[in-house]
């Protein structure tokens, strides 16, 4: 049987972190009373016009720069037409012809199979990033055969990040999305919380034999978590292979991932290929961005966006932060990944290091093996840790000064975890865990043990 090459591309929608919407002044907020965050424009009432939110443009430029894109100094807005109850205007304002950023790349890492915990770096090309409106939310009431529509989300700014089909499996797709999520959170351009719908992923999947052209692709939607992303992609790859090997064909269709059954199913309501009749948005002139060279003199700064100004103020991206951690503290690359993967863990580690004489290479073991496993066992975030960085540093100092043994330290940590407010020193004294340093005392104990043995 000839081998199969799976091909995976992704379309990721990230909700922009802003106070107000992309083209209107209504608030952006999760879980508000239905239709309370809706302006006349969002409801598509006649006579309303879109007004572009500056913050949304800045968020898209930041993201484009962080993903090594070329920022288009002139980008355009278009209308994408389709009918659905949660799209009151009957079209979505998007950037189909000339998006704000193109031709970037994202590097991500995977653990290799071997137990050494080594990591391999991969790259996925970013085709483009475009600004577009989010739609409202439909709540399907099957019992009463109706749909309830909440327009709070209608008009919220989105950045659609299109990743080329450079990935080959669920693990790669999940790792790429995870890295993008970290980047967005570091930039602050999106909070990218998948559970709140701030980061939505659609996967394009196909398979082919080496040397042959790409196979027919399917689009997989309704993936609600990182875990399900890998599962959905791998399931679809398997499904396509099985279908083709049994003589069937793959339809160019849209499928939904059913998390309960762990499989993809064809989506209803998607009759054939859609004709979106793209047309230029007549109410918006082109979006012009400037850099230091092209910036006109005597200009109102509120009306102008300077790409170079934004570039200079980009924070350290996760990859840079990891390198710095490895260089500064001598920890392994895999450690730096784990530190950044858990919100607040890197800061916790650095605070402990500052307060203890123990070498960072030893501290990292306590952070990753002991602290982190406690947190995971109890499903706590770093912020919720009953053991603060001060307490842990205190404990590690006792260990470093050889006042307690390593085994004793673990027992103290277990006690500290109860969060009863005791200091490490208090616990050590309570449980009599001090290492005996006194030579004479040690001799006496040893002698007593020997004497006891002789009697028997």
């Amino acid at each position: 049987l000839a081998p199969w090459i799976p091909v995976v591309g992704l379309e990721i929608h990230a909700q922009i972190s802003s106070n107000s919407k992309l083209f209107s002044g209504s608030q952006v907020q999760f879980a508000a009373p239905p239709n309370s965050l809706v302006s006349f424009f969002d409801a598509s009432l006649p006579g309303t016009l879109p007004v572009l939110n500056r913050r949304c443009v800045e968020a898209a430029v930041m993201t484009g720069l962080a993903l090594n894109c070329s920022i288009n100094k002139k980008s355009l807005f278009d209308r994408k037409h389709y009918f659905y109850a949660d799209l009151p205007a009957g079209y979505q304002i998007t950037q189909q012809r000339v998006p704000i950023a193109v031709n970037g790349s994202l590097s991500y890492s995977l653990c290799t199979d071997n137990k050494m915990g080594q990591m391999v770096t991969k790259t996925v090309r970013i085709k483009q990033i475009q600004l577009e409106q989010d739609s409202g939310k439909s709540l399907h009431d099957d019992t009463r055969s109706q749909t309830l529509v909440d327009l709070n989300r209608a008009g919220v700014g989105l950045m659609e990040v299109v990743m080329e089909p450079d990935m080959c499996c669920g693990e790669e797709a999940a790792a790429a999305v995870r890295e993008l999520q970290l980047i967005l959170q570091t930039l602050g351009s999106s909070q990218a919380v998948m559970a709140e719908g701030q980061l939505r992923v659609d996967a394009n999947v196909s398979v082919h034999h080496p040397g042959e052209p790409y196979g027919v692709r399917t689009e997989v939607k309704n993936i609600n978590s990182m875990r399900f992303l890998a599962k959905a992609v791998d399931y679809e790859i398997q499904r396509q292979i099985e279908e083709l090997e049994s003589g069937g064909t793959i339809l160019n269709e849209t499928r939904a991932f059913d998390s309960k059954l762990g499989c993809t199913v064809p989506m209803r309501d998607k009759e054939g290929k859609q004709d979106y009749r793209f047309m230029p948005e007549p109410n918006l002139p082109p979006l012009i961005l400037y850099d230091a060279k092209s910036l006109p003199a005597n200009v109102n700064h509120q009306q102008v966006i300077n790409i170079d100004w934004i570039h200079e103020r980009l924070p350290d991206l996760p990859s840079v932060k990891r390198e710095k951690l490895v260089e500064q503290y001598g920890i392994l690359p895999e450690h730096s990944f784990t530190l950044l993967n858990e919100d607040g863990l890197a800061e916790f580690f650095e605070t402990v290091v500052k307060q203890t004489q123990m070498k960072p290479k030893k501290v990292i073991g306590w952070i990753l093996n002991d602290l982190l496993s406690y947190l995971n066992q109890h499903s706590l975030t770093v912020k919720e840790s009953p053991v603060s960085s001060f307490l842990l540093a205190d404990l590690l100092n006792l260990l470093e000064k050889k006042e307690i043994s390593s085994t004793a330290a673990k027992r103290v940590l277990a006690e500290l975890w109860k969060g009863e407010g005791k200091t490490p020193l208090e616990i050590v004294k309570e449980q009599k865990l001090e290492l005996l340093q006194d030579q004479k005392e040690l001799e006496q104990i040893c002698q007593a043990v020997i004497d006891g043995q002789e009697k028997e």
Partner: protein, 108 residues
């Protein structure tokens, strides 16, 4: 050159327009002919204009919350509502296919 029945049917589905009768279709044909006059202009080497606003500045708004909180007015026009939600049918109700319709287009 006439617009085919398939294209007319496709347009009716996409835009929910109703060409209604031969007069409606004729009007469309004339509109297309009128616009086609643009092809007579030599546009070699000329950047297409897609908006008369192309030289205007795109106004950028500050990211402040200035609108919203008008449920009452928004729901006023809704034929049906349930607890401040708009009510819609369970899914799109597609126009019947050409073969199933009893319209002018079928006869032409």
């Amino acid at each position: 050159e006439k617009v085919s029945v398939e294209v007319l049917d496709h347009l009716e589905h996409l835009a929910l327009v109703d060409f209604r009768d031969s007069e409606g279709v004729e009007r469309l044909q004339k509109a297309i002919q009128f616009a086609d006059q643009l092809h007579e202009v030599n546009t070699d080497g000329v950047e297409p204009m897609d908006s008369v606003l192309e030289d205007r500045c795109l106004y950028l708004r500050e990211d402040d919350v200035t609108e919203g909180n008008c449920i009452k007015e928004l729901l006023e026009n809704a034929r049906e509502k349930v607890e401040e939600y708009f009510v819609a049918p369970p899914g799109n109700i597609p126009l019947p296919k050409l073969e199933e319709q009893d319209t002018f287009l079928q006869g032409s």
